[in-house]
């Protein structure tokens, strides 16, 4: 239904173009400098990372598009991981996963409810829920790292498929496609863009805040849940205070993908490219035997570079707008002068 015209995309969507270029740049850089980078096993590792970061990045992208942010996403994922790991031994992996997802999604729905109905800003509420969920997770894990007793159970999610994929990454790619279709082709998806980009106007047009807000946060909760479940099963352990690094990584991914702090901009494709870029960087740094804290430093730096770029392009755009307006004024003046000479 929609044409995939490359030229149209680059002119219509400079942010996406920038993201793709950046992604290609990072990939090329590591491919050249790290001899082991450009091979299938690395690809698999990247896609495995993608599974978790992709979910969180997607969720965060949706929240930021809607003009909010979910700071508690890491805590939600950690809770999910703990639930899955603790319960798998007793009731089996599939049931444990279901329960974890149900909990995570409900948490998202409740937050969405408060944000929509009590008009609390997400940035404020999620600071509180971040801590609240940590407390619950500590409680659920009895203050310690939980482990599976049978580490073979979850191997199925790591089976290699088609060289670089696994059931986990396939699932996540499928979710990306579903959410992309939702955002592009349904009324509810458009409402999310509306309340983000121009909230006052959206409300004035009769868009209810409640529905898109709850949808976005429910998706966020669900994604956190799936992500946590995947991590828990994959490593067989879960730390109650873990997964905090996801927030910075997902935020960088979202911004590379083209979201704006003002909301209303960005999309699923951008999120995909952003997450890939961050993954290239992370994996590449691992090859370089870079310690985690240095990787965080690059992430932080990358984030600042991206927003600086966004800021500069906005300044440039504003300048262009002004020039256009001035040209309009000048041409109007010419027309008026001509009409006098008659």
């Amino acid at each position: 239904m929609t044409s995939f015209n490359l030229k149209k995309i680059t002119s219509n969507d400079p942010d996406l173009t920038f993201a793709i270029l950046l992604s290609a740049l990072v990939f090329a850089f590591f491919s050249i400098y790290e001899p082991l980078f450009f091979n299938i096993n690395t690809g698999f590792a990247i896609m495995e990372r993608f599974a978790v970061l992709g979910l969180v990045g997607l969720a965060l992208t949706l929240c930021i598009i809607a003009g909010e942010i979910d700071l508690s996403i890491g805590s939600n994922a950690a809770l999910s991981a703990v639930i899955v790991v603790r319960l798998t031994d007793s009731i089996g992996a599939p049931n444990a996963i279901l329960i974890a997802l149900a909990v995570a999604t409900s948490i998202g729905l409740i937050q969405g409810f408060f944000i929509a109905y009590l008009k609390v800003r997400a940035i404020v509420l999620t600071v509180g829920t971040l801590m609240l969920l940590r407390g619950i997770t500590l409680f659920a894990a009895d203050e310690k790292t939980v482990m599976l007793t049978d580490f073979d159970i979850p191997d199925f999610i790591q089976e290699k498929m088609f060289y670089i994929f696994s059931p986990a990454s396939f699932l996540v790619l499928g979710i990306f496609v579903l959410v992309a279709l939702f955002m592009r082709y349904t009324k509810y998806g458009r409402e999310v863009y509306a309340i983000g980009g121009a909230r006052k106007e959206a409300v004035a047009s009769g868009v209810s805040l409640k529905r898109p807000m709850m949808i976005v946060f429910a998706i966020s909760g669900l994604c956190a849940g799936i992500g946590g479940a995947i991590i828990g099963l994959r490593s067989g352990t879960a730390q109650p205070l873990g997964l905090q690094y996801l927030l910075l990584a997902a935020t960088v991914a979202a911004f590379i993908g083209g979201v704006s702090v003002l909301g209303g901009k960005g999309g699923v494709v951008g999120a995909f490219v952003g997450v890939l870029t961050v993954n290239f960087l992370n994996t590449g740094l691992v090859f370089n035997v870079t310690p985690a804290y240095i990787a965080q430093m690059y992430m932080g730096g990358l984030l600042l570079v991206v927003i600086l770029f966004q800021n500069m392009s906005k300044v440039y755009e504003d300048k262009q707008q002004r020039q256009l307006k001035l040209a309009d004024t000048d041409s109007f003046r010419q027309r008026l002068l001509k009409s006098f000479k008659v």
Partner: protein
Amino acid sequence: MSAAADSKRSPGAGQSTAIAILNQNGLNIFLAIIALVFIGFAITTHNYLTLFNIKTIVRDAALVGIMGIGLTFVTLSGNFFLLSMKETAALCIITFATSMSHDFGFVISLAGAVAVAMISGGLQGLLIGRGGNPIVVTLGAAGILYGIASWWSDNLVISFRRPNDAEWLGTGSVMGIPNITITFIVIAIIAELVLRKTSFGRQVYLIGANRAAGKATGHENRSMAIKVCMIASVCCAIVAVAFSAQMSSAQANYFSSEFGSSGDFTILVIATVMVAGNSIMGGYGSTLRTSLGAVFISAVDNMMVLQGYNSGPRVLSVGLMIVFSILVFAYIRRDNRSEG
């Protein structure tokens, strides 16, 4: 005199006076209820209302309180909050300990830590003042600052000899009150005075209340953001120095997961500012509130420890307090917010 109908705060038709009073004084009533509930628990907990315990409570609140006071300036001026506080503290503590371990003495080491804080705070404030979103800017800065701190110290512990001239801050006391507590109280008093009585403090409130109106009357956020970020960062430096003085050592991850039971110092500080009732949008609140908020959270945590709870329930209850107070304040202030 024009027959102006002012005061939307008078009761509308059909509202009883009780509800009207509730709406007008909601905040204070809420705080009063909290105080009462708290006193109830306090009386029933063994060993709680002793001088020693109270001193412990205030001392435990000191570090979070000092950072909270610094952050309050940022919040009041309408610049939300900084997500880079514990990382700033990490860099400052490494600076301080490195200097102490080279025997430069307390004063120089303190100056070094403060200088680092002012530079990192100033740079973040510069970006924020020019239009950067505080959350995103400080999230990025956090990664960078922590990276520098870890890299500089090779992620190792830096110790300095005892005795040293920083010990008075860490473990010393005057008339039975720990010096760290005195520092907290002094900073709290100075901060409140600055906010209430100086034109700088007035500017903080004005810019926070309405940035556009502030600009129109000659008060720009461009310079204010730099100043408040520096203040907040310097408070981080003080906390870092105090903590290092206590331990006579430093490591980049001192302020990370292991610090306190809650696992995230930055969040705890932000929570303190919010639980105390400062408006996240700026223009309303005070550092006095934040100081009391820090003491309150510490008091609750202390009570739970005395009653034998583990870190899980303690973190949970802090989280509950935060969420609860956010919801209550949102409800009370719902009239003052525009759509969305």
